[in-house]
């Protein structure tokens, strides 16, 4: 498929990428564009843009903030990978949010009820989380394969069902225990054998990076190998690009949909693990929520590329962390959400602009080379 024939969705999800120097132009353009818009918003709200960004950069590069950034990025990265697996297959798994919350709750309850030798205990909790995530995603996969239900609709609905199911389970009579004197309620805290120690890799601070950051990196490598170096990955990408072509070459599309959904869900199951095993040791009322939706934005930002997603996750985490300082300087922290939103939009717009520029340039070149100099077709004709 030549770039000129690609669909917008292909370009949006990074299945078609501009090559050469132009591939660098897009992210640079996006960052400049996002910077401009954010500056305008900052000016409108009466805050000096340059100073604001300097404040954020100063605070965000302190050792403790770097640890926080890496910790946030770990969960964001896993979440974005879960979304990206679906994207590569043309599946929009909006349900990562529900999948990880339910997985973390069940895994926390199972882990809290047992005591095992340390590596086994951790492995069991992680396996339970992956199974629950995969199982919950499989419902949407089965509905799509058997009944043709759009996974966008079913996963959104399943998010709501997961919320209700989670609330039902997180009850004194079921999986939860009360904390004395607290208005919180959570699963039985995990014993020391299930706690993954942090890594003191950032000097100048006592706080530690989630030990499971290693798991996130390993998953990134696995994602890359699976998609780009295996027959399965080829089939998955082929199905995502063109279903009829995949069918013609002997791919069982229904099976692929189900497997992709299950893999996406299993990855989603891991999203809550760094927090559960590295920090809170219990699933309680204040377990972080909404990570699944952050994952969608970061997968788009990283264009489903494991390295791109890593940068996206770090950028997002950096912005989240450094937003903490803004209120001390009487700047609304919501400015960071605007920044994050504009960056995602800018990336999409920038890639599209670069893509069109490239096609137009190609067409001009061809028409110049053609004898008699046929007139160039108008720009953007392909879109």
């Amino acid at each position: 498929m030549s770039p000129a024939e690609s669909r917008f969705a292909d370009r949006l999800l990074g299945r078609v990428s501009p090559g050469g120097l132009l591939s660098l132009a897009a992210p640079v353009l996006a960052v400049v564009f996002a910077g401009l818009i954010t500056s305008v918003v900052l000016l409108l709200t009466g805050a000096p843009p340059l100073e604001t960004l300097v404040i954020m950069a100063e605070y965000g590069t302190q050792p403790r903030s770097i640890v926080l950034t890496l910790n946030y990025a770990t969960t964001f990265y896993l979440s974005a990978l879960a979304v990206a697996i679906g994207f590569r297959m043309n599946l929009f798994n909006i349900g990562v949010d529900g999948q990880y919350r339910l997985a973390a709750l069940v895994a926390a309850a199972v882990g809290g009820a047992l005591t095992l030798p340390a590596p086994l205990h951790v492995a069991l909790i992680v396996c339970v989380a992956m199974l629950v995530g995969a199982g919950w995603a499989a419902i949407a996969g089965l509905l799509k394969v058997r009944r043709g239900v759009s996974e966008v609709i079913s996963t959104i609905m399943l998010n709501a069902v997961a919320t209700a199911l989670g609330a039902w389970l997180l009850n004194r009579e079921r999986l939860a225990v009360e904390v004395a004197g607290s208005n919180n309620i959570g699963t039985r805290p995990l014993g020391p054998s299930a706690q993954v120690p942090g890594l003191a890799i950032i000097p100048g601070t006592g706080s530690k990076v989630f030990g499971l950051i290693i798991l996130a990196v390993a998953m990134g490598v696995l994602y890359h190998v699976l998609l780009n170096r295996t027959r399965f990955g080829f089939d998955l990408r082929a199905t995502g690009r063109s279903e009829p072509a995949a069918v013609a070459s002997g791919v069982d599309v229904k099976k692929m949909i189900l497997i992709a959904m299950i893999l996406s869900g299993a990855m989603a199951g891991l999203v809550g693990m760094p927090q559960l095993l590295g920090a809170s040791y219990s699933y309680s009322l204040d377990f972080p929520t909404g990570l699944g939706f952050t994952g969608i934005a970061i997968a788009l930002l990283g264009r489903n590329n494991p390295v791109g997603i890593a940068f996206g996750a770090l950028l997002w985490a950096f912005l989240d962390t450094s937003s903490g300082i803004l209120q001390l300087h009487d700047i609304s922290p919501e400015i960071v959400m605007i920044m994050q939103g504009t960056i995602v939009l800018s990336v999409i717009v920038a890639y599209e602009l670069v893509h069109r520029y490239r096609i137009a340039a190609g067409q001009r070149r061809v028409s110049r080379e053609l004898a008699g100099g046929a007139p160039a077709r108008p720009e953007g004709a392909s879109a």
Binding site: V28, V31, V32, A34, G35, T38, S39, P49, L53, A57, E58, Y59, G60, T61, Q62, P63, R64, I66, T69, N71, Y72, R101, A164, G166, A167, L170, E178, V179, A180, G181, S182, N183, N184, I185, A200, I201, I202, P203, G204, T205, G206, S207, Q275, A279, S280, L285, D286, F287, P288, G290, A310, F311, L314, L315, T321, G324, I325, Q327, L328, P333
Partner: protein
């Protein structure tokens, strides 16, 4: 500018490992914030710098956080505070974010630091240990204990008992309702007291109970449309008095009561004074939870150097919870309500704080 920031990030992310290796001999002391950590030994007394960390919603939620803000405002004008800083929470954030918020305040020289809401329990325990010279307070939590933490607690069930009794005395159809914002233990405390109070007056009164959302969906505290739908359902089913413990969603309950010509009971503040003027006439009474008083008292004792660590319980006896009489719609039953109040204070009636 942004490019520069991005560059810094990239440098941190990529070269991080190498840099860390080089600098690793530097030892692991903290804090390293530029925000003057040394200044946190601020003297008690006049000119205190007060830091306040809100729960989700922050100032302007017309409910829980606003009550805390009112206490701070009162302290600002009456106690001559040098500086105040109020930080908001983000929805769905991690404990690490809450911890960092408290730490920023403590590091920035704010003393005392007040955390609003039980979600700060774990984070506060950690931060309070790091800053033994800073005085902390937390509202609605008794689990975080340290020599420098004051726990400000409320007996919501006792106040709810009184408005439950009021509802049972006021109902003509022997049918009342309870709308909870989010189904969490704290709000179940309101429910338990309300039900106990109503049953005490009329053992066979019918009580509908409905929670707007389940955790981790906390929108039930800020969605008037959900409150309206739930209350409409109760009025349609035959209830004529509905009590809400749903924060900002309560506005919808009042609207539903107005439309159904029913009655409603407010919560947290005296809502016959604070609700939208159009619906004030349906509010029989309100269960007042004096977070503002607790915050003000704490600041006052800090100013006078008499802060007490540990739990301070704001119950009926201490006047921390109560029912309101604004509008005169409970004037005919105040003697009965006050009788119950005395019985609770004397210990003759023990109000359950858990739903059975």
């Amino acid at each position: 500018m942004l490019h520069n920031r991005f560059g810094r990030l990239a440098a941190v992310a990529l070269a991080g490992g190498a840099l860390m290796g080089v600098a690793a001999c530097g030892g692991g002391e903290e804090p390293t914030t530029s925000a003057t950590p040394a200044g946190s030994t601020a003297p008690a007394g006049k000119g205190a710098k007060v830091g306040l960390a809100y729960d989700i919603g922050g100032r302007g939620d017309q409910s829980f956080n606003d009550a805390a803000a009112a206490g701070l405002d009162k302290a600002k004008s009456e106690l001559g505070l040098a500086d105040t800083k109020e930080l908001d929470a983000g929805s769905g954030e991690t404990e690490a974010a809450k911890e960092e918020r408290l730490r920023l305040l403590a590091q920035g020289g704010f003393n005392p630091v007040i955390a609003i809401g039980f979600a700060y329990s774990g984070p506060l325990k950690k931060v309070a240990a790091e800053f033994p010279e800073v005085t902390f307070a937390i509202v609605d939590d008794a689990a975080a204990t340290a020599p420098n933490i004051s726990n400000l607690l409320f007996a919501e069930h006792e106040g709810s008992f009184l408005v439950g009794a009021a509802a049972a005395l006021k109902t003509k159809k022997e049918h009342i309702g309870f709308v909870g914002g989010v189904q969490v233990p704290l709000i179940q405390k309101f429910q338990a007291g309300f039900v106990a109070g109503a049953k005490k007056v009329k053992a066979d009164v019918q009580i509908d109970v409905k929670y707007l959302t389940q955790p981790p969906d906390f929108s039930g505290f800020s969605d008037p449309a959900k409150g309206k739908t739930a209350a409409e359902g109760m009025f349609d089913a035959g209830a004529d008095v509905v009590y809400h413990a749903a924060g900002g969603s309560g506005g919808g309950v009042f609207e539903a009561a107005k439309a159904a010509k029913g009655l409603a009971i407010g919560v947290d503040s005296d809502q016959a004074k604070t609700a939208s003027p159009a619906v004030r006439d349906v509010i029989v009474t309100s269960m007042i939870k004096k977070v503002d008083v607790a915050v003000f008292d704490f600041l006052k004792s800090f100013t006078s150097g008499s802060v007490k660590a540990g739990s301070t319980i704001y119950d009926l006896k201490a006047g921390g919870v109560d029912y309101s009489t604004t509008g005169g719609r409970v004037d005919d039953i105040t003697s009965e309500l006050d009788e119950y109040k005395q019985k609770i204070i004397s210990g003759e009636i023990t109000v359950p704080d858990k739903t059975s």
